[in-house]
């Protein structure tokens, strides 16, 4: 847009002057070998020069409304505001690291020196670990000592890896943009911190307030971020889910914040099945799958897509709540298998055939599982429940539960004889 360019021109001119003055004085030092943003930008410009701009407009630079519209028709949205794009047109695209501000450059020098220190520490520590591993167990002072030493050193090494990168502004920027590569420890650390700041607190609050924790499992310290989707709609922990919606198995997004792969068992339990004879509540297992691989980079788990002959022990059973029964808590647990070893699927399948009263505590004890993640949703009687019940052949679909009237104790009666 013409006036836009005109408005930003004086500012840009004076900026450009400082840039051209400041640039030669700067050493073009690239701190990291894998910084390739500047290069990519230059390449893009070189390509654009060969074709006229109006033929192939750049979404980061286009300001003409016609060209913008054409881009939009192609399905490419222009990047940023029009004012920003106009400003970028005349700017010499200096990469962030080389911005000519003295204090900033001094600060970067300090940070780069620190990073070099940390890298040296990392190589030293990994060499030390290798040396200790080469030493035979007797010389190292017994197996237990060697193991604990190695463990401590590895923890320290991980810590150093994070410290090396935590002060990098580009790492911060990438993480904030959601472009962090979770195979790298620094991004895993940052996303873990972010998760613990809010989402994990909410989850823990919900599962403790709704008493899932002492009722279903005695203890759970979530270390994986779990998101639950029914038909692409994310369900917050503890939300009420319509019976029609929950007929299909949910999709999970299980974010692991550690390196390596883990094999987990996924169990969905209803802990509020009313039992009229007992005048109490029973458990019911709605889903059980074993040997599900999760890692920091492959997070998506579709419960309906898991293989029926090697993973799914009990397929998805749509949760329904009878009319008049209090809401049902359906808690989902991600249970880590011991040493990430696969369980014997055939044996598990042969053993766990009964859905009713299959307690997660039993499973945990039987297969040495450890709860590393949890999620929770609730279901109650709604207008679609009846159809779902008929679909799945629920035995007492027409029955409505009623609370038994409790006769008040004589001294609690409203108008006893002593009052008269």
């Amino acid at each position: 847009m013409a006036h836009c360019e005109r408005a930003s021109k004086p500012l840009l001119q004076c900026l450009q002057k400082t840039y051209t003055k400041g640039l030669p004085a700067l050493q073009l030092q690239s701190t990291r070998a894998f910084q390739s943003t500047a290069l990519a930008r230059e390449e893009a410009q070189a390509e654009a020069k060969s074709v006229p701009f109006h033929k192939a407009p750049d979404p980061a630079l286009v300001t003409n409304p016609q060209l913008e519209r054409r881009l939009l028709r192609q399905g490419i949205a222009p990047i940023g505001s029009r004012r920003r794009r106009a400003a970028l047109q005349n700017s010499s695209n200096i990469p962030f690291e080389q911005l000519p501000y003295q204090c900033f450059q001094e600060a970067r020098k300090v940070l780069v020196a620190d990073r070099d220190d940390k890298l040296r520490d990392i190589t030293a520590m990994s060499e030390k670990i290798a040396r200790l591993q080469a030493v035979p167990t007797e010389e190292a002072g017994g197996e237990q000592v060697k193991k604990s030493k190695l463990r401590a050193m590895e923890v320290h090494l991980e810590h150093l890896k994070i410290l090396a990168d935590i002060n990098d502004p580009l790492v911060k920027k990438k993480f904030e943009d959601g472009q962090g590569d979770l195979s790298k420890p620094i991004y895993r650390y940052l996303s873990d911190r972010k998760w613990r700041e809010y989402r994990r607190k909410i989850l823990v609050q919900r599962i403790t307030q709704m008493k899932v924790i002492p009722d279903v499992l005695p203890h759970c310290d979530p270390i994986v971020d779990t998101k639950l989707y029914f038909n692409r709609n994310q369900i917050q922990p503890g939300e009420f889910v319509n019976a029609q919606v929950s007929t299909t198995a949910p999709k999970l997004d299980v974010q692991l914040f550690e390196g390596g792969e883990k094999l987990v068992t996924i169990a969905v339990v209803d802990s509020d099945v009313p039992n009229v004879e007992k005048d109490g509540f029973d458990f019911k297992m709605h889903y059980l799958a074993v040997n599900v691989p999760i890692s920091a980079t492959s997070t998506k788990v579709d419960l309906s897509q898991l293989s029926a002959d090697s993973q799914v022990v009990l397929p998805w059973l749509p949760p329904v709540a009878q009319k008049g029964s209090p809401y049902h808590r359906l808690s989902l647990f991600i249970l880590e298998q011991k040493d990430s070893k696969p369980l014997d699927f055939a044996a598990v399948k042969a053993k766990e055939t009964e859905r009713d009263n299959l307690l997660p505590r039993t499973l945990q004890a039987r297969y040495h599982l450890k709860a590393i993640g949890a999620h929770l949703f609730r279901s109650q009687w709604d207008e679609t429940t009846y159809e779902v019940m008929k679909e799945i052949g629920f035995p007492e679909a027409d029955m409505e539960l009623r609370r038994k009237r409790v006769e008040p104790l004589p001294y609690k009666r409203r108008n006893p004889s002593t009052f008269r």
Partner: protein
């Protein structure tokens, strides 16, 4: 005396005629009005008597007043890259300070350890069975036989105007 009508008063003002009013004798109506007005007897101020209930914390009111006052400068807002640069500088400064603290601590530790080593050397290496060491470690009178009180002056950056008090004598 009746008060002048407004027309007369303005005319008097124009022609600069001084109007002196005789002190008005208190009339009955004035007396009645004064006695019936509640203000003259009440000791509570009118504001506190008003029945509007609790109007909030005064401190919060003041904070809000000054925060939203037009003379208060706007909050500091940075653009993305500006903020990242700020963050970079902040981190570098923190790192620098932490390094300084660490070197200082290490220096103190080194000094303490060398002192310890010297004492140990005195105890074992002097060849007198540690007598010198034991003598030097006796703490009796440490808090009684202090330096003369005249030496206890405030620590200053530079030397005093007269460098040495030559006239001073212990008495």
């Amino acid at each position: 005396m009746r008060p002048l009508s407004p027309v007369l008063a303005s005319l008097a003002n124009v022609f600069r005629i001084p109007i002196t009013r005789a002190p008005v004798r208190p009339t009955l109506t004035n007396e009645i009005l004064k006695s019936t007005s509640p203000r003259s007897f009440s000791t509570t101020s009118a504001l506190s008597k008003r029945k509007e209930g609790y109007r909030g914390d005064r401190r919060i009111l003041l904070i809000r007043y000054f925060l939203h006052h037009p003379l208060t400068p706007r909050p500091l807002r940075f653009s993305r890259t500006r903020f990242l640069r700020h963050w970079t500088i902040h981190r570098a400064w923190n790192l620098y300070q932490a390094n300084q603290r660490r070197t200082h601590e290490l220096e103190l530790q080194r000094q303490w350890q060398s002192m310890q080593a010297a004492c140990e050397e005195l105890r074992t290496g002097a060849g007198d069975g540690g007598k010198l060491f034991r003598k030097s470690m006796i703490k009796t009178g440490v808090f009684r036989d202090l330096v003369p009180i005249e030496y206890a002056r405030l620590q200053t950056e530079g030397p005093g105007r007269e460098g040495w008090n030559h006239e001073w004598k212990r008495d």
